[in-house]
Symmetry: C2
């Protein structure tokens, strides 16, 4: 008799982004696993055990959650945003791939959520309305030259770029280096959006340009969106500007890129 | 006295994906605008007017919604998935950019939702867990050679690729052509996921390979995810396989790409 494992996306940090499907999965779980600050967002329920762990213990957390599920426990593993975007879903899959064969028979569901780039984009307009990509600037699991190669490819081909994990205490120089790299391909006036803690009381969303972006404060709770050559800013009296990338592209520019 | 315009993401086609924030915005609206099939998902409320329009009338729909808002009406414009991803948010911004100055003073909010690629990825594991991109295969608003250039750039640089709008009646050959293009860069065994109508009763999710992908049925309600060289498939007895892209990348491969 085995349990069920739900890998749950909480969305950005407020319950108004939590989907009904995710809320049901959290309520049904007997045991909750996750990075401490994410787990803290889930209201306590009687009879539910809670197992917070550190940010860097994803593999161990995934293995423990699968082991509990195999023993018949109904388990939820939580991620901020969407669990499939630079988060716990891959760690769970990696453990199933390498773990006991019986883990392949378990009932495992992944419950999507609003990932950070969508929440930040919504706060400021529609900067991701044309083709776009998501790149993690963490070089813990991939080498920095590969990240540079991807930034080159994305900027040259005209993708808007969402940068996840721009900065951490252990990675202080990577964000400024990425901005420098993008300046090889994009005009200094390309709009750049910083979204910090969207949906939380200390939310802060600012708009700057690629030229000034390296001086802007970013941290682990920040998601950065870099626009394309075509991304526009609409100034509005008394409000944040709107930033959007048009859905169409001028033929001359298209020919220059292609 | 002006109203308020909410540009609302409904998520995939089931209310279990509708965020509480979106539900409140829909309930508060006096007038609802959107593509007919999306509007049909919103339960009727007394006193609310409904204004369905065709898929290709996005600019006119946006202008009408803004005009109503300027007259003091509380308006919601709905999109499936997330309004900022190949949907209504950009059409609203484009109209504000070119419309009367007073439209820049309006209270406009964008409410994010779970976009199709996140819902399809969640159904099958974690294919978007590493760097990824989203490309619309519609060449209505951009020329086909530019789409090819972006597919080349994304595949060569090792991004997983979510393909929106793969096929329509007016665009019958583009999807097969995109698959051919990707085969220049990726192995024939690269996993490809077809997700149709995720969250609806007729949902269908299948996994195939790049070699066989052009023969698979796709339509306007289908979202396709093309994996990378590193994307893995875990076969499971009696269940759909799991497909995931590891978060780390082998150094030899990284050096080959960079």
């Amino acid at each position: 008799m085995s349990g069920r494992l739900a890998v749950v996306g909480l969305g950005p940090g407020d319950e108004r982004y939590l989907t009904p499907e995710a809320a049901v999965a959290l309520a049904d779980a007997q045991a909750l696993y996750g990075y401490g600050p994410y787990l803290d967002r889930v209201p306590a329920r009687a009879g539910q055990s809670r197992h917070p762990s550190d940010n860097r213990e994803e593999a161990a957390r995934a293995a423990e959650a699968l082991g509990q599920t195999a023993q018949g426990v109904s388990v939820a593993v939580v991620s901020g945003g969407d669990p499939g975007v630079f988060a716990m879903a891959a760690a769970i899959c990696e453990q199933i791939a390498t773990g006991p064969d019986t883990w392949r028979t378990l009932d495992v569901v992944f419950i999507p959520g609003v990932t950070a780039m969508l929440a930040v984009a919504a706060r400021i307009g529609a900067p991701l309305a044309h083709d776009f990509c998501a790149v993690s600037l963490s070089d813990n699991l991939k080498p920095w030259p590969l990240i540079e190669r991807r930034l080159d490819a994305a900027a040259q081909a005209g993708f808007a770029i969402a940068l996840y994990n721009p900065v951490s205490r252990a990675r202080p120089w990577q964000f400024a280096s990425a901005v420098e790299r993008l300046r090889r391909h994009l005009p200094p006036t390309a709009p750049v959006i910083f979204g910090r803690a969207v949906g939380r009381p200390d939310e802060r969303v600012t708009v700057t340009t690629l030229e000034s972006a390296a001086n802007e404060a970013a941290d682990m709770a920040t998601l950065v969106i870099v626009g394309t050559r075509e991304t526009r800013v609409i100034e509005r009296p008394g409000r944040l500007p709107l930033v959007y990338t048009p859905r169409w592209i001028p033929r001359a520019l298209a020919e220059a890129i292609a």
